[in-house]
């Protein structure tokens, strides 16, 4: 038995523990940094309250439209900030280098951050849903709630990939500005704050360039605001966008050690 244990190659080491601990401590880290968690959780609901609910009182169609698009707006924040800003900081401070020297399973770090982004997205989605139901008069079938929730949760991926790309390149002090510079204009241009039909024609035409547009279309289909067509096209676009961002980020991270 002993010889077997000794001759077992090191690569057979199970890294489940590393994945679990990485995720657990990422959670604790965020919990212990309320200056990140509180604004990230409050910002989308507050925005929704002011511009989605108070300004559009009484119109059921608009209420459903805005709930669908604001749920996309809500999940973008923790993905972009959680990846973009946090990774820029950890890269600059040398934690990333230390973990790359230590045999951390590379996926553990990213999955921990992805899990946190999803948890945040879930909390924001639940808060937005409660607000939409109580204040906005949004009424959906149970399946619709579940579908739009699932879209919100899985929708973190392209924005995590985009955030990873920002975090791989930007320095820590510039990263929040970069993220905002992408987050807010993209939200507007993708029709998250007001229907695209209210925007100038040119902006409507370029809307399919933005990942938030495609996610918002899926979300709008879920609440029945747009006809459910070309679902696969939106999904492929989002998957492709995620893959490209991820590949670029990997190259940049490999070079920035």
């Amino acid at each position: 038995m002993n010889t077997a244990a000794i001759s077992t190659p090191a690569s057979s080491h199970s890294s489940h523990a590393a994945y679990l601990l990485e995720a657990k401590f990422e959670f604790l880290r965020v919990l212990r940094t309320p200056s990140f968690a509180v604004p990230t959780l409050l910002f989308p609901p507050l925005f929704y309250l002011l511009f989605g609910l108070l300004l559009n009182h009484g119109n059921a169609g608009a209420a459903h439209y805005l709930f669908a698009t604001y749920s996309v707006f809500g999940v973008m924040a923790p993905s972009l900030f959680g990846f973009g800003v946090a990774i820029a900081i950890e890269r600059e401070r040398g934690l990333l280098a230390l973990k790359r020297v230590a045999p951390m399973p590379p996926g553990a770090y990213l999955l921990a951050k992805l899990a946190m982004a999803m948890l945040f997205a879930l909390i924001i989605f639940v808060v937005l849903s409660v607000m939409a139901f109580t204040l906005g008069g949004v009424r959906l079938a149970f399946v619709q709630w579940l579908t739009i929730g699932a879209i919100a949760l899985l929708g973190v991926m392209p924005f995590c990939a985009l955030g990873l790309m920002i975090g791989a390149r930007a320095n820590a002090s510039a990263a929040p500005a970069f993220v905002n510079l992408i987050y807010l204009p993209m939200s507007f241009l993708s029709g998250l704050w007001m229907p695209l039909s209210m925007l100038p024609h040119f902006l409507q035409q370029i809307a399919p360039l933005w990942p938030a547009y495609h996610l918002a279309q899926l979300s709008l289909m879920a609440v029945g605001q747009v006809p459910a067509t070309a679902i696969a096209g939106h999904l492929v676009w989002l998957a492709g966008f995620s893959a490209v961002c991820f590949a670029i980020a990997r190259r940049w991270l490999a070079r920035s050690a």
Partner: protein, 297 residues
């Protein structure tokens, strides 16, 4: 006991940053169970050399290997521990949590109690990293480096910011790890550290290795010796004697650095019959180091 094996090596390693040649054909080998110290002035390429062996940088020419393979491989990294100059350890986690996390990366980690005792962090386990003093943080970084029972440990200026007690403790631990067969690669500004710990030393200057050998061999490259005595002679006059390089005087104590100590001592005794407390020493590593890097410049 078989002959010590080579656990890490740079062969003709070169690295260019724009117009700066950070490493210029560096060859070095680290054997198991030895402390290998890399010395050199700031900007000489010490951290660059280590970064190649850690797989954080890729050589432009030559090769960097650990255990005969690429350092980036997971199977290499599981046998490596490192204490970097910029550690970036998360402030919000406790020392115990950090140790648990780093233990989870390795197939055969040390026990927490073992790590805590070796690194001297047993009383810090429940405290958050960000609340610790600089010296305590350094000890935690050391704890993370040894968590995985590494076979080669890279310590980039490990005792910077440590008080004398903590430094002595760390030295003791390093010796204990070496006794277990661990290889240590150490960069340091403190020559006494290299003198106290190192089996072999390489001196880097401008990206090249300008001297390599044991502490004694490096010291022997410098002929100078230091003479101390209590005498009434005028030290400024002694400074003019042949082969005397410099003199210094503190009260009635004179300190002379000379190439030919025997001749100078004979003359001292002849000129001052009352001379007492005579002492002759070979120059320390510090003098050798200054000399070697000056030659290289």
């Amino acid at each position: 006991m078989t002959q010590a094996t080579i656990v890490a090596a740079l062969r003709g390693a070169s690295k260019q940053y724009g117009t700066l040649r950070a490493l210029d054909g560096v060859d070095l080998q680290v054997r198991s169970g030895e402390v290998f110290a890399l010395l050199g002035p700031n900007g000489a390429g010490k951290t660059t050399a280590i970064s190649h062996l850690l797989g954080l940088l890729q050589v432009d020419e030559g090769s960097a290997t650990v255990f005969g393979q690429a350092p980036q491989l997971l199977s290499s990294r599981r046998r490596i521990g490192a204490m970097l100059q910029t550690a970036g350890v998360p402030d919000t986690l406790t020392v115990g949590e950090l140790i648990a996390l780093f233990r989870s990366y390795y197939p055969n980690p040390r026990t927490v109690a073992d790590i805590a005792e070796l690194a001297g962090v047993a009383d810090l386990l429940k405290r958050r990293y960000g609340k610790l003093s600089g010296g305590q943080q350094r000890r935690v970084q050391f704890a993370l480096a040894i968590a995985g029972r590494a076979e080669i440990l890279f310590l980039d200026e490990p005792t910077t910011g440590l008080d004398i007690d903590a430094r002595q403790t760390l030295w003791k631990t390093i010796r204990a790890l070496v006794a277990e067969g661990c290889a240590i690669v150490l960069t340091t500004h403190y020559l006494e550290e290299a003198e106290a710990l190192a089996d072999r030393i390489a001196v880097l200057a401008r990206g090249r290795i300008v001297a390599e050998g044991s502490v004694a061999q490096i010291r022997a490259r410098v002929a100078q010796r230091r003479i101390r005595c209590v005498s009434t002679l005028d030290h400024a006059a002694i400074a003019q004697w042949p082969t005397v390089r410099s003199t210094r005087c503190e009260g009635d104590r004179i300190e002379i650095v000379a190439d030919d100590a025997e001749t100078v001592v004979r003359r001292l005794l002849a000129e001052d019959a009352a001379l007492s407390e005579l002492e002759v020493q070979r120059a320390g590593l510090a003098e050798a180091f200054v000399e070697i890097t000056r030659e290289a410049a």
